[in-house]
Homo-oligomer: 454 residues x 4
């Protein structure tokens, strides 16, 4: 049995077998057992030092404790097993740490381990530390994905493509504007995640820090400083709004990723073919396929988020001074949410970072309806002369004729006396040029790119 | 009673029959059909005026449109029915508005209604307007609930009660600290809700504002100014991070409400009896009951939130330039989430605002274990003399003896030679006084109250 | 238009404004206030008659009660408002019923109204009655949608189309098989819904039927018989597995609908064009679009289900003999889930019932890759001669050459000496015929259709 | 580091550190990497044998394949890593199996590995096999928990306790009836789980089994027989109703567990003290506590279920012949749901199996309100003489007097002339005896226990 959690490989998770797909990127390593153990031990070490700093403890004893606060000295599996006794792993870890300090020769220091704190202090603070480093990893991938979208937006600022509403071609847009939308959405999720209000947790048995006498708040302040976590006004053991903010931010990021990933999948369809992932590929028996594996995996991971967010929100109702279940219900979903969202971000980074864009195919698809895509523009042009009702009617009639006869929309319009009369020679061709009906697309892309770097 | 609501009463909702419980407070009225109609019409009126302001439209025509933009002129039921044709109510409303402008004598103005806009522009902007006024109503109740918690915290800063972890008495705390925790949690949810990034939506058929030519952005700017909504960098029709932030904030508020409401229910139990709702009452056959109806209803409403948040997050994957279902999936859950959270906030305001606190019962319950509640304190006191291990052992033994023999913990301790020797005469009584073991409770309450009003 | 609905229109729901889209079909009318009132009154009437049947009540008094048990005699809005007092509408309704019986001249009968029952008995039993009739309505639409899928499966048993995995063309299949899959999935959801274990609820104040003395179970049996609901072994007031089964079945149905609706949306894409809804249409400014509004609305409604199911499952933890919030949390989500799923079913029925299939376009799309879609078949054919590794390698090379050169896959293969040698003249054309590589598609369709009617 | 999944310990899960709490019981071991590998390999082995049985393959080759189909021969971590390439682990496993068959000397057999199947066939069938054995493990714990509840129900058929509605004492009930309710709820969840419609999945590249020519269905039939899984009418690769039924059943079980666990937590409260877990215990600093750790952990695990069910239901919308994300989104939630529900069941079994019931404390609590708990009974008794209105009024007045004066309800009633007159001497004491007001409680317990073993 390996030190850091072989047993859990056989239990809690789909296992290594699915990790290549479901645990991509750097987040997973930040939330493993070793990371958790170290975060809990950091709490204990800095708690001892904080008490030394305010004069409650001999500094040498604090260092004797800190010297044993290294994750590699502990067996996560054994601690996890012992956790069943009291319902959380902090107790067994404190016991193991105490034993090591004693065995190292300082029985008095051993008696000071975890002083004034309760299990939830250890685990809640460790949650903040682990989540903070997980978020840092996640934000790197999320930002890189947004950067890739920005690069696409810049490069294709003026690349016309069919705008599609309800999955039907509507009027032209640019691929740059679509990519800028992905970027803006990913960026705003990142903003939400950067605003998560982390804080140290220290309250003792029931949130009063009673066993620290008059020094409770001084220890709290010093502990926060040492762990580089904000100091809360109150112990927040049963105020889970911090967890909720984290959950909400992760859910938002997952949603933004799902949108971009979904568009890549749709644009990659055999019948659309406007983009292709750099690493797209088929199977051995179907080598012609260009499966956008990265976008698909991004979606697959992102879809896990909303249910996990709901679990965390539904478990905010912590009873009195410690919840009888709602607290325990947070641990796995929060980690799963971090890993799933992180994995989705890493996959999207791969997808967008290597995306091959096919402007020729975009032009070809723009022409697929023989100009019908520009019907709105013709309507608008005719409205000034004929009024909106008559203009719409004329265009609708021409559309139906085009669809029914198979003749192109341009031909039908050019054969129409009223059109020729009102708009003049050559107007139809000009009106049906999709590259000339892009409105503010370019300006919007510029605004988005510029506002990013202000 | 307006005609148009009746049909929906028979369809979409639990109906008036459940409204007293599930639609309490001011939010419900801000999201009714009339409010929606008016918000959509405000969009159309200000769109026309914005176009007049930038020179695209004769101001008189804009006013002719605005003159018909009053909700009471339209039949929500009929528009709702017609909405089935295109899948949203904006189209039929635009038709009805156009008809009224025309019938009022200005056919040219009629031709300018909704110019440059698409259905989603109307509905998304109306969503922002409706949600903004719903949030204002909700925040009033939420803040009042937090105020009531603050009043309780101040009044009971030093009222001792049993701290309870895992629903077992642990060590003493104060009711003031518990109430301050409710307050802090409600306040931080309010902060999240105040930060929701509202914005106007205007993009036209596919987000490029093409039919407005070079004036698209000028119209957007002017429209935002007129509706007093921020102007987004990009049209956000398929970037749902704004909706996600709103959902996350509402879910957080619901969770904070559920926590406070749950505590009131638990403290009101017959066997605990430490608080009682002012309007608590039983049934005619069980007049002795003090059902905390307001806290119960607050919980009942709050529990609806997490699932609705999940629905909104799971529907962020809008395809291309308009979603084929994910957009439609947002409408009902967002309104339900606003009403459920608003109703929960209104109920909690009632509950906390009228809460009767029973300090005598709190003292009585503190004594229920005959001093065992202070075991931690005795341990701590003995640790200095005996070391932690021996101290814990002694206290554990005394505890078991007390429980087994039925003698009070105080008696058992006082009969112990080692205790008398180490702590001296009278120490046991002093150590077992719960009011002297409250640590930083008072200081925490002060911090929380003070930071609120800075 | 009844008085009592208006208020709820302004509160709980998106209102009539969205009903055309979000409350389609017959379910909505089965869960309106009038239906709820009648179901609650049916409980009271049959409770009285059941007591008369077992000799606890004068039959004339029972009839005096039953005579007033007509929904149209009551004002749902007023009852809903009064419900705030005790937290549910059953109490006020009982009061109103009692008053009417008394006012009708039978004070003794008035004193017997609701005898032995508690509010939850009324509401839980009414929930069963309302849900039963809602399910009947829903199942009609769901079955009709499955029937439409069956008709498509039969008609297109042998219509070849591109099979698409990960949204990339894979190997051929038939439209009939795809439609048969929709049918099977809808049918199996219907089976789950038909198996929902309804039951009457009668337990009195705490589930013991104490106030009925020795006659409790006899009354229960008789009440169940009269309401045509199964008699449960135990009162199930805090056993919510019945609600969970209903929720699970509805969630399953919504998922099956979302799958079929999603496929229709994808097949309707401008670039795919293989199906078209009979009532598909564009907007006035974009008359060329063929928006599959029904499938879109089906998806939009279906996406609301999972979050609502989660709310219901998360509220199964009813405390002791009546929940302090979890019960109240069920009411709205259950109705919303019935309406949303029912609406989705009605929309899918419309979509599939009028679906126009375009076999020519299917053939055209099958040819889009110049035969690459049949690469697997060529591999398989070559495997016998060359072994799998070499066969795959050859096909992969030919694929790449085809893609790179723009020559059709057929041409590349035919120019390959090894292919000609191993497979013989004409083999390539034969192998690349998609209609000859449909495997068991037809047989599967037959099995599915036949097993349906056994 | 163990071979098959050390890496996943560091990534996907809370890790061994939390396993003692979150992965209790036998389910976890049934869903580990080794179990998954073996299930996938069983599919491949029996697929080969099925093809041999129908004459498509030399039986010796089938055995050559089967000989390598042992999980311990493969490295789950390496396969998981390679899975990133195509988005699922089936491909790499097939490659590794093929290589082993070849290396073992049978190149021809190697060429026949996985013939006719696609990745999804492997994984979906393995999901069924894994879920089936996980369910068997889970049902053992769930049934044992229900058995423990049955034992409690039988033993305490006549043990009176306070019935509590809205967490207020209402009228008496028995602990036996409360336990019978737990049993019935757990049993009905077990029924739902036993009805999950498992089935083998085999469809090939797009569900037609084309590469098996005319033998597709024969192979399917034989494969189903060999794996002891039902044969589906159609390949169900994009019909996820089977997964939905499994999810719904697990969510139902989790809800039933949460109800029972919640009651144990509430009954264990210091101020209630009616039950105590056999292994309940406090911390070293608070030895007096009787934390019901098992019930708490059961709730903590059970609360994870609803969000996971929602994820699975929301991912039923598989596109065309294979989903581009929705399929991948199922893997982790399904395993998490199995483990969480299984862990909850195992904890509840521990909790109920060792529950110590305190009838004396139940009697004491029944007396806490001085007889007010029986107010309903007094009302009923007086109703015959005074009519309901007057009876209620009298009892309400007496209740208020008792609460206000501190005199017991019995004393107040006995001092009331009207009461004495109507009910006679000694009636009050008789009416206020809780053990004589239990209605059908005992009969209900008998029904529930008897119907269990029919």
């Amino acid at each position: 049995m390996s030190l850091q959690g072989g047993s859990s490989a056989r239990t809690m998770s789909p296992g290594g077998l699915f990790d290549g797909v479901l645990a991509r990127g750097a987040v997973a390593a930040t939330v493993d057992d070793a990371a958790w153990l170290q975060a809990m031990l950091d709490f204990e070490a800095e708690l001892a030092r904080a008490q030394a700093a305010v004069g409650l403890l001999d500094p040498a004893q604090a260092e004797a404790i800190a010297a044993q606060a290294r994750a590699e000295l502990y067996d996560a599996g054994a601690i996890g097993e012992a956790a069943a006794g009291i319902g959380n792993p902090a107790g067994p870890l404190v016991n193991a740490l105490t034993a090591r300090v004693r065995d190292a020769g300082d029985a008095t220091a051993a008696g000071q381990v975890h002083r004034g704190a309760t299990s939830q202090d250890v685990i809640d603070t460790a949650t903040m530390l682990v989540a903070r480093s997980a978020l840092a990893a996640l934000l790197e991938d999320l930002t890189a994905a947004a950067d890739a979208a920005a690069t696409l937006a810049r490069a294709h600022r003026d690349t016309p493509m069919a705008g599609r509403t309800l999955l039907q071609q509507a009027v032209p847009t640019t691929f740059g504007l679509q990519a800028a939308g992905w970027m803006a959405s990913l960026d705003s999720a990142a903003v939400a995640l950067r605003a998560v209000p982390f804080a140290v947790q220290l309250g003792g048995a029931a949130g009063t820090l009673a066993s620290l006498g008059d020094d409770g708040i001084a220890v709290l302040t010093e502990l926060a400083r040492r762990l580089d976590l904000p100091e809360p006004t109150l112990p927040w053991h049963t105020d889970r709004t911090r967890i909720a903010a984290l959950a909400g931010g992760l859910g938002t990021a997952a949603g933004a990723i799902a949108k971009a990933g979904g568009d890549v999948v749709l644009l990659s369809q055999t019948e659309v073919g406007e983009v292709r992932e750099g690493s797209a590929g088929g199977s051995s028996t179907m080598p012609h396929k260009a499966n956008p594996v990265a976008a698909i995996a991004a979606r697959g991971n992102a879809r896990r988020a909303p249910g996990l967010v709901a679990t965390l929100l539904a478990s905010m109702d912590h009873e009195h001074q410690r919840a009888a279940g709602a607290w325990h219900a947070e641990w796995a979903p929060l980690l799963e949410l971090l890993v799933a969202t992180g994995s989705a971000a890493a996959w999207l980074r791969t997808s967008l970072g290597g995306l091959e864009v096919n402007p020729a195919r975009m032009r070809e698809n723009l022409g697929a309806t023989g100009g019908l895509l520009l019907a709105e523009r013709v309507s608008t042009a005719l409205t000034q002369a004929l009024g909106r009702g008559a203009a719409h009617e004329l265009v609708e009639r021409a559309t139906q004729e085009s669809v029914a006869s198979g003749r192109s929309f341009a031909d039908v319009l050019e054969a129409d006396d009223q059109v020729r009369e009102q708009l003049g020679e050559g107007a139809v061709a000009r009106l049906l040029d999709p590259t000339a009906y892009l409105g503010s697309a370019g300006a919007f892309v510029d605004r988005a790119l510029n506002s990013r770097f202000v």
